[in-house]
Symmetry: C2
DNA sequence: TTTATATTTTACTAACTGGTTAATTAACCA
DNA sequence: TGGTTAATTAACCAGTTAGTAAAATATAAA
């Protein structure tokens, strides 16, 4: 049984699932709404499976409304994954500094503006 | 051939690999240095394979020094993954707001330092 | 009650993952 | 030269993943 962080990252490791999450970020959606953009490329059961991965990772929860299953985002595990990355970002960048690379061109401006 | 973002998240979806990245964040390390903390749980070829996943995702690059293979972090794809998450964070949190949930109980304090 | 819509389940693939042991390559050291 | 250390490769296995087609379930609508 993998840890939560691994479940979350694994769930993110697929463009279909990332797109579904992005759409859910705009609000609740039924399975067929979520599936619509992908039905050119895959069948509905395939989408159901992706959704199941997102559910098992705790990123999405599904309700019931008649024959519909309205899905909504659960941001918490995503926040934990983001935390992990933020927590190590400093070290990566330090590593990059050691190579004298990327930082100037990539992380200026607002990108990771958080701290305090 | 999966996209870079998927490769990156897939590489992160394993605690051994995350630990290796964390160690590399502190500086270069040879394969056996990287392997040391895990040799109670797995063999060296297993570590080599994990390292290969990190290399294929472009997160780690390996040099040569005599019989050693000094590995170092390449933070760039990690930054891209972080960007993706940051970019969608707002939407997740908006979604949470809509439910009036979690934020007060879960993210008070420093975690996702966001507005009042 | 029948029919249509929304979604899931089942059963089946092919490919990938994460691990193993044993053998191999590469470079140093005596 | 022979031996040791560092790391990879090869061959194999069990379990998971991502997809399919076809059947089943659940609810609404006529």
């Amino acid at each position: 049984m993998p840890d939560q962080l691994s479940l979350t990252f694994a769930a993110l490791a697929d463009p279909t699932r990332r797109a579904m999450l992005a759409q859910l970020g705009k609000g609740e959606a039924n399975v067929s709404d979520l599936a619509a953009p992908f039905l050119k490329n895959m069948t509905l059961p395939a989408v159901t499976k992706h959704l199941k991965v997102l559910e098992n990772a705790g990123l999405v929860s599904k309700g019931r409304n008649a024959q519909y299953r309205p899905c909504r985002l659960n941001g918490e595990p995503l926040g934990e994954a983001l935390d992990w990355m933020e927590q190590h970002r400093i070290a990566w960048e330090a590593q990059l500094d050691r190579l004298g690379a990327y930082l100037k061109t990539k992380t200026q401006g607002t990108r990771h503006g958080r701290k305090k």
